[in-house]
Symmetry: C2
Subunit: 343 residues, 2 copies
């Protein structure tokens, strides 16, 4: 069945993975706020905030010429770089690399593996020399061969203890306060909010409900192979060492179609990997809104765009300018970037 | 991206398709009801109805030892044979075969195709002789090469005019009244109701929201290949002649994991294709319920089980007996099968 699906792993490697590994090879702020009746208190007054409020009012006010029925109010958000930070490396990659190290005792054959040795030694020069393929091979092996439940637990354990290398906070606190407010605001206006991310569904589902208010069934993402097995009379889903679907770039509209089955009326991204999702969203009839976060805030977060290997914003930026999409400047539009630290 | 995914179509053919074609090769009642405060007026009093009411009460009543938080109240329903009829052939197959005939003018090469000629001539003997592969090849070609929106419209058009060969009603009226009540009842108790079907998401989504109250994003099903393209500057999703995922048998728990990301607490099926979904559902901790419709009502619908090529109920029936799952007798448990005809 699914098991017969033999896919060339390397052929199917996508930019999301490639860039993650490339960044690995190359190397490697919070404030407080409040609000009253303003649904977006962490958004500064300005064209971005006004455009959002105007769009939402138009599609939700009965009698409005651009009114959209509640069932059709689908909003999709990229995750990495749109809902939470993504520098210096996609957080899922940091987790997966930990898994490689943790899996080492079960893989004595890695002892002489050049990529593994370079990884453990943090030998960037050697890693750069060999390219990304040997690292992806390790990731694929280290992150498969276990049940979905065991993997889920590993992710939860890692998230509970890991800290961002520069910002020194738990990763689940490195979500954007203005976006938390936007998600809640959209839902209060009858929208269903979805994540559509290059990250895997498994990595996001353990925490996004608590952090974003988005339930697991509204997470669209990349999919690793999964196989149903009977293990000692107990049905179990086992992770396979292959990628079933990459939800990035042109994969995002496909993932939206597969899992949501309706075209979004609002989509929010931050990089070229979101371009096709944004194009697909605005190509529908009626009122549509496309938004992009521009990471231009080195003081409070990171500043990067056209030249970045992680979250490259180049073609999508050009298209945003050409088509009048809303480009949100993190520096100018966001009063606060991250939620206040807990306790 | 997705396009690189080269899958052997025949290797990936599953029982759902095989049986459909086999049945094709082999061949080719409504009443009124009402209700007051009974949430399931079309269900006769008896052990099945009592088991459902007792389970729902247990998982939804605060303070109950088997209480389940609303977010975890996931119920999954097979479609063919569980929510609507499936004899003499899965309705989707009837549609797809129409598509083969409709596509003929665009495929002059089919003129000398033996399967096509036998199909048009209704020559069952010749079709039986050649097996299912040539028919599946025609189906795959005839049902691809168009945008998802064009395909969607074709399905809507067909559903609007087609009638069941024996029951002489539109297919969307051949849904089970007791199940419509059960779906609504579960939702009124905070459940999210999902379809998990061997049929394709595309065939179900155009009508299930109106008929079952289940939105497109809560439909899990088989998936044909889909590719994002720019056609004259307009983004479009094009159907590809390959199967991406078969949501049947062991594929159902995988489909549930991929799209829902939570284990159901209630699952309802009718055939061996639902066995693994039911096993996976009851294997979770806490209160769980597995149900099977037994088609034993030749007078009002159809009667078939262990020997049937469509909706075979054999292994799942044995397991239901062994494990004490609820087997719903259509004849005994359902006061009414189909909704009253719409004048």
């Amino acid at each position: 069945m699914q098991g017969e699906q033999r896919l060339g792993i390397w052929q199917r490697t996508r930019r999301w993975l490639v860039l993650g590994a490339a960044a690995l090879v190359l190397a490697a702020c919070a404030s407080g706020g409040g609000g009253n009746t303003d649904p977006l208190p962490s958004w500064n007054e300005g064209t971005s905030k006004q455009a959002i409020l105007k769009f939402v009012d138009g599609v939700t006010r009965e009698g409005s010429p651009s009114y959209v029925a509640p069932a059709e109010r689908i909003a999709t958000f990229d995750n990495d770089g749109t809902l939470w930070a993504e520098q210096p490396l996609y957080f899922q990659f940091l987790f997966m690399l930990e898994q490689v190290k943790a899996a080492a005792p079960q893989h004595p054959e890695w002892k002489d593996n050049a990529a593994f040795k370079a990884l453990v030694a943090n030998d960037h020069a050697a890693l750069a020399e060999m390219g990304h393929k040997p690292i992806l091979e390790l990731l694929m092996v280290a992150n498969s061969g276990m049940s979905n439940e065991a993997y889920d637990q590993t992710i939860r354990d890692w998230l509970a203890s890991a800290r961002h290398p520069k910002l020194k906070r738990p990763f689940t606190e490195l979500v954007y306060q203005p976006q938390l407010e936007l998600l809640a605001y959209l839902r209060s206006k009858g929208f269903k909010t979805f994540i559509v991310s290059g990250g895997s569904v498994e990595f996001m589902r353990p925490w996004v409900e608590k952090v974003y208010g988005i339930p697991p069934e509204q997470v669209v993402g990349s999919q690793q192979g999964m196989k149903f097995d009977m293990a000692g009379g107990k049905p179990v889903l086992m992770r396979e060492p292959k990628i079933d679907f990459i939800d990035d770039g042109p994969g995002k509209p496909v993932g939206i179609y597969k899992q949501i089955g309706r075209r979004p009326i609002l989509a929010f991204g931050n990089s070229d990997g979101d371009l096709q999702m944004l194009q697909y969203t605005v190509a529908g009839s009626g009122a549509r809104m496309a938004l992009i976060v521009h990471h231009d805030d080195a003081a409070r977060e990171f500043a990067y765009d056209r030249q970045s290997k992680i979250g490259k914003l180049d073609k999508a930026w050009d298209e945003a300018k050409a088509k009048g999409w809303t480009v949100v400047s993190m520096q100018r539009d966001w009063k606060q970037v991250f939620p206040a630290p807990k306790n």
